[in-house]
């Protein structure tokens, strides 16, 4: 994180380091919403469980969307549920992230021929990270959450909030310049 000096309305502000500090804090308190729709919900529970203890990364589940940063689309989404998920997403505070966990949330998965299933979470929500698997292993979900951490790390959101961020460049992708985990 290179320190940058930004000109504020009243004088100089060292926004870069503050951004870095804030991102560091945000990165290590990534709270996900305890919300699962289908099979992946069990693996979501196991991820919070003792084996892949996500508390190690400061990832704690919250029961209310108002306190959550990450919405994990864990499982098949039916049309009846889609509008409720949208409602949950709208209740979350900015900045918020969405993870599509498993094949059903990615593309509808094995329910391509079903009349009642939404073919992919990205048809009605902006999805940040897609995790393959049916259901993905807890470690897989952990990796997805870590990708969100990497994305947070390079987010200039304070600059953006200050109105000083040049918005002609698209938001950095989580994979851009990131290192693979292994």
């Amino acid at each position: 994180m290179t320190p940058t000096i930004e000109r504020g309305p009243e004088g100089g502000f060292a926004v870069g380091p503050i951004d870095g500090l804030l991102n560091l804090a945000r990165k290590h308190s990534l709270w996900y919403l305890l919300f699962g729709t289908a099979c992946c919900a069990i693996e979501l529970m196991q991820t919070g469980g003792p084996r892949t203890d996500t508390d190690r990364f400061g990832m704690v589940f919250r029961s209310t969307p108002r306190q959550a940063d990450v919405l994990v689309l864990a499982g098949t989404i039916s049309y009846k549920m889609a509008s409720r998920i949208r409602l949950l997403y709208d209740q979350m505070a900015e900045p918020k992230y969405v993870i599509a966990m498993g094949s059903c949330a990615n593309t509808g998965g094995l329910f391509q021929e079903s009349y009642a299933v939404v073919k992919g979470g990205d048809l009605f929500l902006p999805v940040d990270v897609y995790i393959p698997g049916c259901p993905p292993r807890p470690e897989s979900l952990c990796e997805g959450l870590m990708l969100i951490q990497q994305k947070i790390e390079r987010e200039p959101w304070l600059k953006k909030a200050w109105g000083k961020y040049k918005s002609d460049k698209p938001d950095p992708m989580p994979t851009e310049g990131c290192e693979p985990l292994r």
């Binding site: 897609y130 049916c134 470690e139 897989s140 994979t175 292994r182």
Partner: protein
């Protein structure tokens, strides 16, 4: 008075049974921890710790594949796409496309059971998180190449690449910033 003593007895029983439970919980302070420190603080990578039969992301060794398309027919949800054409000059069957849609795959293993040459297999790889769902369509054929001949009875089976190496390379390629298809708007 009876109800009052019952009330006190209730409180007493609650404290005693709660103590029993807490004793169990505290005993876990002295036991071996159960957590696996994914991703880095493990003796060996998690992928190597998985059991032999673990079904991870699919991969195909195209040097072995005979282009018979049995796997694509077996797949209940059509997530394997194979294209085999006949080359007019060499009269050989050429494998043009072998894509596996990992974003749709349900990891059931029916295709692997059906593969007659064991070219298609489940790896132990599970780390394939992507920010773009289209990248989860894994293409195993870079340029068209002739399909392999099925091995004769007395011939030794053709050598296959180590399980997992193909898909690991394929997934790692996406991480390179030089890749023109990486990045860009969602």
């Amino acid at each position: 008075m009876g109800s009052f003593s019952e009330y006190l007895a209730n409180i007493g029983r609650s404290i005693v049974t709660l103590g029993d439970g807490l004793a169990v919980t505290f005993s876990y302070l002295l036991r071996k921890p159960f957590t696996i420190q994914y991703p880095d603080r493990t003796e060996k990578p998690v992928v190597a710790m998985l059991p032999e039969r673990s079904r991870g992301i699919l991969e195909i060794d195209i040097n072995v594949c005979t282009g018979c398309s049995i796997c694509a027919k077996q797949c209940p949800i059509d997530c394997i796409h194979i294209e085999v054409v006949k080359d007019e000059e060499t009269k050989q069957r050429v494998l043009k496309r072998f894509d596996i849609d990992v974003a749709k795959c349900m990891f059931c293993g029916l295709c692997v059971e059906a593969c007659p040459v064991s070219g298609l297999r489940h790896t132990h790889e599970f780390e394939g998180s992507m920010s773009d769902v289209h990248r989860l369509m894994l293409s195993f054929v870079d340029k068209p190449q002739p399909v392999a001949k099925p091995a004769k009875k007395d011939e030794p089976a053709p050598e296959t690449k180590p399980v997992g190496s193909i898909v690991r390379k394929l997934l790692a390629d996406w991480w390179k910033p030089a890749n023109p298809t990486s990045g860009g708007p969602r």
